[in-house]
Symmetry: D3
């Protein structure tokens, strides 16, 4: 069931609009840098998204993990490749990453179900 | 000058031997998993080393950063590609990463000087 | 709608009472130090609450963020000033702070709605 | 009411099975090391579980905290001893730990209620 | 003795120039956002520097702490006010902050000695 | 050679005195809570020091690790038991803990050499 995926993306988009509607320049420019960071440069976008994913996992941010899993899938990362990313995060970050890994896999499964429909 | 590079690697190897000479099984097996994690799987070793590098940068561990920079170079990651990895770490991890970025670039420069000799 | 604000404060107060009802002296004394820390000293309470807020944001604790937003509002911090605090947290802590920023702004909006009623 | 305890354990077990059903060797072996770590060695299992609990608290992972509280109870750690573990976590980790302490105590209370039934 | 202060600033400036001499656009733009963040906005620069300091302390980055102490002094923050900032960092971040507090105070003392000469 | 041990303890004591000589009440009271936390309560001091050590390791603070290793030795924790503490820290905290583990073991070895003299 894709409820969590939809809800996550809706809240994300609504609040991003809300935040970018303020007059705060450093925050607006930070969002610009954030977007630029994942555009293809010396490394292709696919690799950068995997880098964003592993960074999000070791810093243990569920929303960031969900977002980068979606982006990885869009860039053609396979599920087996995603588990390789997960394994680096788990080894570097330790067992404290496991609850986030569980939720990451649950999110991935929901995402796959949604796409099959 | 390659003094810091040599000293870093010597201490690293000496203490790893010291640690693996103990009888503690979970620690020994953890070191085994750590090694296995970076071997080519679904992703090639080059990509995995970049994943290890970005994870080390956002968790802000200078020794881990130095180690993965060396491994990335061995796997053929170019300096320009390394800066793309650095940029993901900086954006995800924030300005708190900057002092580690400075030391990472200083280490990279020492490494390049050493190899030119 | 102020449901989340009320629920948050109710749970917070109930559990604080529960914790302070135990016999554990270091925990009780820690809570005393915590209270003392935000009382006006060389810096006024308003500044201290902003310090508490930015610290909570870079350490990425939603409940702490919600609490300090409430305290900042009580001390007269304006919404535009709060966004300046948010911007320091975002720059120092990186994009990993963004999901917490989204929830912080959502909480602030609920708080403002509640006060308008 | 024991709803949260049951739900937590069910999700945990289901996702662990899902993760261990993949072909990813480093992840599988990491789970093996994780299990081995808490088996009695030079220190008894009771002490190791308290070590796992305090580590989980300062790293602020609610699921890990809930899990180790359950394990501590199984190993015979009393509630008063648990509060001593909590106090070390609070002092080392600071007030940012407090929201996790609140949820830890709430979980402990649910666990005790369930066992009394 | 001001040796550490000079050395710190020299390395910082040299490596910043080195990093900004590369072609990596997200990194360059991040440095721009970082600068903008501390310029007077709704909050004055003095307050923003104190926010940067407390954030650096709870994230435990010695170089960032040293940098913001210098900036705070330039903006007229008194030593007694700095200790108020330190106290918020200590309470929020816990005893793990203490070694960084020791080095912060040692740096502050060196800075004051230097200015007295 | 015990140079690092002596130097570490001398700096620690000198700066603690310096910090406690200020007028800042929350900081002074925090140091009091810190001391109280490790006094025997429901758990004996030996266990509490091991809890402090594992917490310091997963939060990756070398000075805190050195301090608690010394305290553990004073309370009669054997080297083999220390390695059990290290293994919990390594599993929970991940490979990012390894550089701190290397320095912890190097410190322990210096401490043992010093005591043999």
């Amino acid at each position: 069931m894709s409820g969590r995926v939809k809800e996550f993306n809706a809240f994300r988009e609504r609040m991003n609009s809300r935040i970018l509607s303020t007059e705060n320049r450093p925050i607006k420019r930070f969002f610009g840098v954030d977007k630029l960071t994942y555009e293809a440069g010396q490394l292709e976008a696919k690799t950068k998204e995997m880098l964003g994913l592993v960074a999000s996992m070791v810093l243990r941010c569920d929303d960031c993990i969900s977002y980068h899993i979606q982006q990885c899938k869009k860039e053609g990362v396979t599920d087996a490749e995603l588990f390789d990313v997960f394994s680096v995060a788990l080894t570097v970050g330790g067992s404290i990453v496991i609850p986030h890994l569980r939720r990451a896999v649950a999110f991935l499964d929901e995402l796959n179900e949604k796409q099959e429909q």
